[in-house]
Symmetry: C2
């Protein structure tokens, strides 16, 4: 019985290997869903896998090329990776606790297109990130400050 991970990999034209399976599995079950390469590496080690950080980067780069994941450059140096679940969205990042919230706004998307057309650009991608503070005390995912 082929796993769903295995099928996804084949569909993407990638050989089904253990590192790729494991990394995909981590991305699929990750909570929160935005992880750095090191986050993934650490989780692999924790679950006893002998996978190198270089492989994590290589696999993530392949996944990105295959549109399985997106790479975001939030503030703080490290890129974060997120599984493409088919629904485009933008991000709000809490600079106090690192919590990431997703949103999608039809009007913003439309205005972006209009603005690009006006400027004579063919847009292939965009990045919209709001930085701020979530006022909730139950803020999950507390990690080192992302703030500059």
């Amino acid at each position: 019985m082929p796993t769903s991970e295995g099928q996804e990999l084949k569909r993407a034209g990638l050989k089904v290997t253990l590192p790729r399976m494991k990394i995909l599995e981590i991305l699929e079950t990750a909570e929160p869903s935005h992880l750095t390469a090191e986050d993934i590496y650490r989780r692999l080690l924790e679950s006893g896998e002998e996978i190198g950080l270089a492989t994590v980067y290589r696999v993530l780069t392949q996944f990105e090329a295959a549109d399985l994941v997106h790479r975001h450059h939030f503030e703080g140096g490290q890129a974060v990776f997120e599984l493409d679940r088919g629904h485009h969205h933008d991000h709000i990042v809490c600079m106090e606790c690192g919590h990431v919230e997703e949103f999608y706004d039809e009007m913003i998307e439309a205005r972006q297109k209009a603005v690009a057309a006006e400027a004579g650009f063919d847009i292939s991608d965009h990045s919209l990130i709001l930085y701020g503070r979530c006022k909730r005390s139950d803020c999950p995912n507390r990690r080192d400050a992302l703030a500059s």
Copy 2:
């Protein structure tokens, strides 16, 4: 007679030194107005100044803290710096030639605020970058591809 650069530095609470003056001057007269630290370093060397790259980074970081400049993280690894001329705007970046165009859209700004409020965030900053291709043949500022 104090130069305008000198006054700006004093206003920002920074001691008036030659490296700071020169770097501020480069930022003020830069065309295009988005420069990497290396861009600035190269221009300093070209005009015969003996200023280290480390100093360029230190000064830019201080300028950023003093809100004299903004630091943007376009794709391609290097941060780019831009003088704060008092008018907030977002960016369209051509992935073929690196040309950067600025835009401001009231509706997008308004929607961002609304979205943030809905999510319970206090927004302190945001980053909106559109990536694409400018179709013009007279595309200025041709540099190494920024594309991934």
